[in-house]
Amino acid sequence: MSGDDFSYLVSALPFLLRGLVLTVQVTFVSFAIALVVGLPVFLGSVSGNKLIRSVSRAYVTAVRNTPLLAQLYLYFFLLASYGILLPPLVAGILALSTQFSAYVAEAYRGAYESVPAGQWEAAISVGLRRWPTLFLVAGPQALRPALPVLANILIQMLKDSSVLSVITLTEVFGATKELANQSFQYTILYLTLGLLYLAVSYPWGRATAWLERRLGTFN
């Protein structure tokens, strides 16, 4: 890497880092929404009502088996053609959070199923009904192995947020693309981009692995 390249990188870095901040913000907001939306989806999947279960399963399948890009197009371009013009940020968060709400719901379900049957039986024997048991007995126990899975989902969302650049959101990937198109400094820029992602995802991944060792996982 020559001196020129290095000075270019230094000048480009602030712009890239601003993009990274947006990446992190979008990811965290979408993650929070996914955590919330995932809950009713999960509860639906274990409901006693067959219709509710089917709806939940259909939602999960539809959202998990189709690309984020396709869903993004629906929220951004399709709605726009009906006059509903969502700002890129809103459409991006909407797409990211709905796709991953399905993964979150599956994580909740895995955690729920990892609670031994004996816990439910014990709860019944002391007179606890279904919902209180879920929140007082199963929930707390399921939470521990669920955390590493959720942490993995977060990092996955961070990486997939790069797709949002398609709808002109200048998160870190979009920012890199913009600069690359102007300066043609592809190598420096994309290498830096990769390193930026790794700088976030690698430590997070190690922390998640440590969490997994401490808390156990159920996958």
Binding site: T61, A62, R64, N65, T66, P67, L68, L69, A70, Q71, Y73, L74, F77, L78, A80, S81, Y82, K159, D160, S162, V163, V166, F173, K177, A180, Y186, T187, Y190, L191, L193, G194, Y197, L198, S201, Y202, G205, N219
Partner: protein, 221 residues
């Protein structure tokens, strides 16, 4: 909302491109992943390190970034290939890194007693690892590898962002130039992926049933 003959053919061709890219990438990713998983549990430190590097880099960045890197950066190092080939290779390497982690976990999940029994019988490396451990690890891996296959299918949509003519690019182009309306384009695109995912799910469900037939579910009698 009339589609010309040519436009309709373009859509079909682009769907075929999507399918071919997904299938080829998956057929490469799974063996790559299993081999790398085995490398990672081997006793050769250097091998574990090198493969580990590959896995961490490809899992730590998104397929989109890797795609752009391969298409825009590699040419300056003299590596210029057909875009579809490059794209498929990236998807294979990306999927392979996830498969490698899955394989590693599955290999470690096989009870150590199996390896010990094999060692008392002096079965040798190949028979022990390929004949005894791998079949049992495969059984454990199947559901997660099915997810990898689906992810590869979904990732083919990213190829559209580097101008590779798969179905996402075609549909959005046809919408942009007015040939089809947004609903047909984008709902249609959504449905294409949904429909294409069905055989993938079916194939892996079949794998699971087949291996349950011999390995079973450890039912005690």
């Amino acid at each position: 909302m009339e589609l010309t003959q040519l436009e309709f053919q373009t859509i079909l061709t682009s769907v075929a491109t999507t399918v071919i890219a997904a299938v080829v990438a998956t057929l490469l990713a799974l063996p790559i992943g299993i081999a790398c998983g085995m490398a990672r549990v081997s006793r050769f430190k250097a091998l574990r390190f090198v493969i580990g590097l590959y896995v961490e880099v490809f899992r730590g960045t998104s397929a989109l970034v890797q795609l752009f890197f391969a298409i825009f950066v590699l040419p300056s190092f003299g590596i210029t290939l057909d875009p579809l080939l490059t794209g498929t290779a990236v998807l294979a390497l990306n999927g392979g890194s996830y498969a490698a982690e899955i394989a590693r976990g599955a290999l470690k999940a096989v009870p150590i007693g199996q390896v010990e029994a094999a060692q008392t019988l002096n079965l040798g490396w190949w028979t022990t690892n390929i004949g005894i451990v791998l079949p049992q690890a495969w059984r454990i891996m199947i559901p997660s590898l099915g997810n990898v296959a689906i992810d590869i299918l979904k990732a083919t949509s990213l190829l559209s962002l580097v101008a590779i003519p798969e179905v996402a690019l075609t549909m959005s182009n046809l919408n942009m130039n007015g040939s089809i309306d947004s609903a047909t384009a984008y709902v249609g695109l959504f449905l294409v992926y949904l429909i294409l995912s069905l055989p993938v799910v079916a194939v892996f469900a079949w794998f699971e049933r087949r291996s349950a037939r011999t390995l079973g579910r450890a039912e005690a009698r």
